[in-house]
Subunit: 356 residues, 2 copies
């Protein structure tokens, strides 16, 4: 990960680490810049403000802290947060109450879309940030069935069900004309023939089939292949695959009280394509990830923080859950929350997949 390259845990001695930790904690909880005096008064150090100031000055030189202006206290930089997250934070386990809420609500929902939507609402509610849940298409996942429904003479709706229970539908326009009976047959054929393969594999296989001998003579098979290829092409993620919930909660944060950052926030949350990009980039990595705004290439989220994690089964990552909020947020609280929800979601999907 690029952002970690230049940070080493041994760059700071024990005292500096303690000070940095305390500054992050205080700043996160109050929202104000932290002064040497308030640090000293915190009781965690038996040092005078003056001594602490020395440490703080060092931390500033190393790029972990910054000064809004001369007579303000210090505020953590991106780098400061990063160090805190990587080396200083001890994330508590999720409060019992939150766990219960999650388990309870998740167990009452079955439809996968609803579960995802619920997840985003839960994240938002329990974190008081914006909840994000992303469900990419099932291109990389195996399908269970594929059905074709006549919608108009030259339009056919293709309903693809993944082994993970996700349902995608897509309307295919075709020059060929199909009758209902024929579509039923094709549906059955494809579902039997290709169940368990990924869309990608199906596409390759279909293309290979066009050259096989039997396809040359079997008109029905030709038509099946033609339709199948159409259906499998371009199953792209749509806006709808991203659930963004609780935008209002972010508005009340003091960092967004001025018009300018409010506008930026508005735009950032509006541009779902960009958010999808970000989520997709998270999908590449395993486990819990914390993104500090400035580190990422996505300038839209410059002063945001994202805590995200993939969900899905052991070896296939299905999608991403996470929260987005101001950089100043309680990462130690968010981390277990996102983690727990990700696991709950994975479990849920696993169940749904096995049980029916």
């Amino acid at each position: 990960m690029a952002h970690k390259l230049d940070i080493h845990s041994d760059e700071l001695d024990s005292r500096a680490r303690d000070v940095l930790r305390e500054i992050v904690i205080q700043h996160v909880s109050t929202g104000e810049a932290v002064s040497s005096r308030s640090l000293s008064k915190s009781g965690r150090f038996n040092l005078s403000p003056a001594s602490l100031r020395n440490v703080m000055a060092d931390l500033e030189d190393l790029g972990y802290l910054q000064h809004p202006h001369t007579s303000a206290g210090r505020v953590p930089t991106d780098r400061g947060y990063r160090f805190f997250i990587d080396y200083l934070m001890h994330s508590r386990s999720l409060p019992r109450h939150d766990r219960e809420v999650i388990d309870e609500e998740v167990s009452h929902t079955t439809e996968i879309d609803e579960v995802l939507h619920l997840a985003s609402r839960l994240l938002s509610r329990l974190s008081d940030q914006v909840g994000l849940v992303f469900m990419p298409t099932l291109l990389q996942f195996a399908i269970r069935s594929m059905d074709f429904v006549l919608v108009a003479e030259n339009k056919i709706m293709c309903v693809i069900v993944g082994t993970n229970g996700v349902v995608v539908n897509k309307i295919v326009e075709t020059r060929l004309v199909f009758a209902r009976d024929e579509l039923d047959k094709i549906s059955r054929f494809i579902s039997i023939e290709f169940a368990g393969l990924t869309l990608d594999a199906i596409r390759r296989r279909l293309i290979r089939m066009t050259e096989e001998e039997r396809a040359l003579h079997d008109r029905m098979l030709q038509r099946t292949i033609a339709l199948g290829i159409e259906a499998v092409n371009d199953v792209t993620p749509v806006e709808h695959d991203l659930y963004v919930e609780g935008a209002e909660s972010i508005l009340s944060k003091p960092e967004f009280s001025d018009a300018v950052s409010l506008r930026k926030t508005f735009l950032a949350l509006q541009e779902k394509e960009k958010l999808i990009d970000i989520m997709n980039s998270c999908l590449a990595e395993d486990g819990l990830q914390i993104l500090i705004g400035g580190e990422s290439d996505f300038t839209q989220i410059h002063n945001f923080g994202i805590v995200a994690r993939s969900y899905g089964s052991h070896n296939s990552r299905l999608g991403i859950v996470g929260i987005i909020g101001p950089m100043r947020m309680e990462y130690a609280r968010m981390a277990p929350l996102v983690n727990y929800l990700g696991r709950a979601l994975s479990r849920k999907i696993e169940e749904e997949r096995e049980q029916p």
Copy 2:
């Protein structure tokens, strides 16, 4: 309409009307309060500022204008805008360029969802406001076909196609277990039996059928009815039915430059349910409608204006297209735009319905 009750076109003499018109026009174009001096300099009146001040004072007494403070000019009130819109505005016809853009782009799209999405983008782009397109469920419209697809053992996806080309799908959970073959038969049966009826009518008919003699003996029919009723129940409008496009354009308007109104705007556009309510209330009326924020019951949109119009065929209103922006907007330009787009959309849908 409640808001018109207390406004009569003859309440103002010719001079007052001219002054009110000019004030609205100037205020809309500059965004500033209009002073007697700038009115006089406009050249449209051969009167001194002093005389105009008298007229303005009268207009203020009657509630058409207001004073932000003593030494500001005058600004139209809700009532002022309403009078302007009802009696003073001559809406120009839509510029040729805009018409061409609309015709061009609409003709290149066929899928109904895409057409609607396109429409909202076009509205936003051409108006520089927020474009809204609302497509309620097809509950009140006739269906062309209804197909059932097995998604999991106890889950069936129901794909309903309206005669208007709208496709809705819904997942039905059922205790009964259906095989693919059976579902195919049921699909065929229902589509033939009920084509041309509205969902409402279908529901009523299904319920009546449960008591008919043949249903008592025909197990297959019983199952068909059970499934059908499930499918027809609760086809509710979803968030997705509302396209809101171009939120960013509204952010640059000077009236939303401060944090407070920015936040309100954000929330108003976020709450899609409320927007759907508003759109639905527009659906009740025919022709072009202009809503001035303060008049409506929806306090969220207090200082917004909405220009909207239903689209659809001669006797069935399918949905609503419109724009929403600050109250201060060029209604005379918006009206023909929304109108034209509404007509284009109706035509398009009509075509699609007949042709296939």
